[in-house]
C-alpha cells in the first residue's frame, strides 16, 4: 500500500511537471501577480472585456530585447479600452526588469512572475512567449519565440476590434 502511494506521488509529480503549452481555445490562467512597479497586484481577470497580448519576457533574454520595440509600437497603435499588451517579467531580477522597461520606453502594463509559476501555468518552455487572449479570457493565439512587426500586423491585428481582416 505504501509502495503504491509513493509510486502514485512520483507519477503525479512527473505528470504535473510536464505541463504542455496552452493552445488556442484554452482558458488563460488568471492568478494575481504583483505589478513590476507600484506595489499593487493585478490579474488577467482584471482585463476581461479587452483583447490582451500577454508577453512573457526577461531582461536577460536577448530575443526579448529584439521584440520589445515592435510590441511597444503595436501598443502605441492599438492600446486602449479594447486592447492592451501585458508584459509578464518572469524569473528575473526586479531591478534589471525596471531598468529594461525604462531603457526601451515600454508603456504597457507590467506584472512580475519571479518564481515562474505563471509561466509554468501557461506551459511556456522559455522566453519570450506570447499569447493573445480574447475578451472572454480564452487564448486565440500562442506564439513560442519572438514576435515581430510582420506577425503582429498579419496575425494579431486582424483579430482586434476595428482591425483589418
Amino acid at each position: 500500500m505504501a509502495v503504491l502511494a509513493v509510486v502514485g506521488l512520483l507519477v503525479f509529480g512527473l505528470a504535473s511537471k510536464g505541463s504542455s503549452r496552452l493552445e488556442p481555445g484554452d482558458l488563460a490562467p488568471t492568478a494575481a501577480l504583483p505589478q513590476l512597479e507600484g506595489g499593487g497586484s493585478e490579474s488577467l481577470a482584471d482585463y476581461r472585456g479587452r483583447w490582451v497580448l500577454v508577453n512573457f519576457w526577461a531582461s536577460w533574454c536577448p530575443p526579448c530585447r529584439a521584440e520589445t520595440p515592435a510590441l511597444e509600437e503595436f501598443q502605441q497603435q492599438h492600446g486602449g479600452p479594447r486592447f492592451t499588451v501585458l508584459g509578464i517579467d518572469t524569473q528575473d531580477l526586479s531591478d534589471d526588469a525596471v531598468d529594461f522597461v525604462e531603457r526601451f520606453g515600454v508603456s504597457y502594463p507590467q506584472l512580475r512572475d519571479g518564481n515562474g509559476d505563471t509561466a509554468d501555468e501557461y506551459g511556456t518552455t522559455g522566453v519570450p512567449e506570447t499569447f493573445l487572449v480574447n475578451p472572454a479570457g480564452k487564448i486565440r493565439l500562442a506564439v513560442p519565440g519572438t514576435v515581430d512587426e510582420e506577425y503582429l500586423r498579419d496575425e494579431v491585428e486582424p483579430l482586434l476590434p476595428g482591425g483589418r481582416s
Binding site: 536577460w60 533574454c61 528575473d92 518564481n115
Partner: protein, 153 residues
C-alpha cells in the same frame, strides 16, 4: 576588576570579534553552492546562462554592500521564490522535507524491531503456547540420521 582581568577581556574581544565577523561575512563561492539558477534547474555554481550571470552579479553586489549570507538568501527568495534555495527552508511546510525521512526511518526501525520480536516469539513457542519444535521430526529426522550415519567415521 584587576588589570589582569581587564587584559583577559580585551584579549578575548580582540580574538573573538574578528573571528565572528569573518564567520558572518558572505562569499559568492559559498552562496552559489546553496542556491539554484531557477531557469537552468541546477546549482548556481554550475550554471553559466545569462540568467545565472545576472544572479551572480546580484549576489556579488549584496556581498559588496556587506549583507550576511542569510540576508542574501532572503533577497534571492524575494526575487525568485523559495525554489531558488537548493535546500528547502526549515520552517512551514518545507520542514516536512527534513521531518518525513526521520519519521519514516523511525517507523521502519520500529516495524523491523517488532517483526523480529514476533518472529523470535513464534519460533520459540507454538500458537497454543507450547514450546515450538527444536529440530526436524518424523521422516526428516530419520533421513538426517541415515545421512549422518553414512558419513560417520
Amino acid at each position: 576588576m584587576s588589570w589582569r582581568s581587564l587584559l583577559v577581556v580585551v584579549l578575548a574581544l580582540t580574538l573573538v570579534a574578528p573571528a565572528a565577523a569573518a564567520e558572518q561575512r558572505a562569499s559568492l563561492a559559498e552562496i552559489e553552492k546553496e542556491v539554484m539558477c531557477p531557469v537552468c534547474g541546477t546549482l548556481l555554481q554550475l550554471a553559466e546562462s545569462p540568467q545565472a550571470q545576472r544572479e551572480k552579479a546580484f549576489v556579488k553586489r549584496l556581498i559588496a554592500e556587506g549583507r550576511t549570507e542569510a540576508q542574501i538568501k532572503d533577497a534571492l527568495v524575494a526575487e525568485y521564490g523559495d525554489e531558488v534555495l537548493a535546500l528547502p527552508p526549515d520552517s512551514g511546510f518545507s520542514l516536512s522535507a527534513y521531518v518525513v525521512p526521520i519519521v519514516a526511518f523511525l517507523i521502519a526501525a520500529v516495524a523491523l524491531a517488532l517483526g523480529a520480536w514476533r518472529w523470535r516469539r513464534a519460533g520459540g513457542t507454538k500458537d497454543d503456547g507450547t514450546p515450538g519444535a527444536k529440530g526436524p521430526s518424523g521422516e526428516d529426522a530419520e533421513r538426517l540420521d541415515a545421512d549422518l550415519a553414512r558419513y560417520d567415521l
